[in-house]
Symmetry: C2
Subunit: 223 residues, 2 copies
């Protein structure tokens, strides 16, 4: 029986323009009403996740910065520091197309940036040298600390609630979600998910961009 659902946000609950599916909101509320815990784990800054949790009305901690920071009731917990990330971004933006995002003032454990795809290989390698890594969360690039990923967030929740992996369902759409798809949890994906995500999913919905939420919840007996 699924007791906890961990949801990616961009591309999983939203469309290509980041607009949330009202159908997803309705089905998440149904799941909450049926007693299942719903958590969000996103690359977004934590206050954006706090807002989403509040406006939808979910019932479990929410994570920002790809798992680097969590809000549990009214308490913020950070698992990493942004110092090295900021310093790296500062450096690399002098010689490449990398540019910090204005949302970084709301981040505490990582930094977000934009860049031209052509710089990917160079910036990625430079990050590696500093024990950092970069990842794309669909709309933004992020520079993060090693070990800072969505699996970290899922494992935190597993321990926090003392649940088994098979009581946890994760849903995501992009390679940024792969770390949590490598855990022995239940996995589902929307039709718009990457091939890497689809092959690891127990259930791939024929619906996409948030409209799959109700379909997936029904498949797993949540609603």
């Amino acid at each position: 029986m699924i007791r906890l659902v961990v949801l990616d946000v961009d591309g999983t609950l939203t469309d290509r323009e980041r607009r949330i599916s009202t159908d997803a909101i309705i089905n998440i509320r149904r799941a909450v009403n049926s007693g299942v815990l719903i958590s969000f784990v996103s690359g977004n800054a934590l206050p954006v996740m706090f807002g989403l949790k509040t406006f939808i009305g979910t019932n479990a901690p929410v994570f920002g910065e790809n798992g680097g920071i969590v809000l549990i009731n009214d308490t913020i917990k950070t698992f990493f520091s942004k110092e090295k990330c900021d310093k790296f971004l500062d450096e690399i933006s002098k010689t490449t197309s990398a540019r910090p995002m204005f949302t970084n003032i709301w981040r505490q454990t990582s930094s977000a940036f934009t860049m031209d795809e052509k710089d990917y290989e160079f910036i990625s390698k430079e990050a590696e040298k500093r024990d950092l890594y970069i990842v794309n969360s669909k709309f933004t690039w992020h520079v993060m600390n090693k070990g800072q990923d969505k699996a970290y967030a899922v494992n935190f929740l597993k321990k926090f609630y003392n649940y088994d992996y098979n009581e946890i369902l994760v849903m995501g759409d992009s390679d940024n979600d792969l770390s949590m798809f490598d855990l022995p949890v239940k996995k589902a994906a929307p039709a718009n998910a990457s091939e890497n995500i689809k092959v690891k999913s127990e259930y791939v919905s024929e619906f996409a961009y948030g409209t799959q939420v109700g379909d997936v919840f029904k498949y797993f007996g949540i609603i």
Copy 2:
């Protein structure tokens, strides 16, 4: 003709538990599609408003902290400072029930707090002495600078777009919205609005907590 709609959030688009109405989201998107500008002015921190703007998909600047701060495209502009507010809250929390909110780390021009109603008169008078004032945005108390209110935000947008007051529609539900209801703009309210708001509104919908958005937009020929 209405060209710009300025919306309060809590109680105007949400229910008593702060959950947003999916019906409101759908009708806001209809208005955006019909070419009307939609702005939010809320007591919430700015990143929460950034998230709301992104997830709904609106097309005009959004204000946090009751008008003290605005996001225009990717640029943040602050109109006031939080220094005096923080100092006051620090002081007053030593002798009263006032307690700062954890969301203050995301605020730049004001401070939010909780308190027992019994302390209202005393804290309000002490704020006055320092040229500050306190206001309740339905879920939180705020200490703000004199002149920092929603009328300030509406006047900023009026100037920014060079519109007439009668091309602007405001919608709100609580006394925290009164400053913008005192402007010579078009005004509408949900059924759950305070009496002070209702008497100043051209149109009071029979629908409430966000479900009035479509009804109000139809009344004013927006959708």
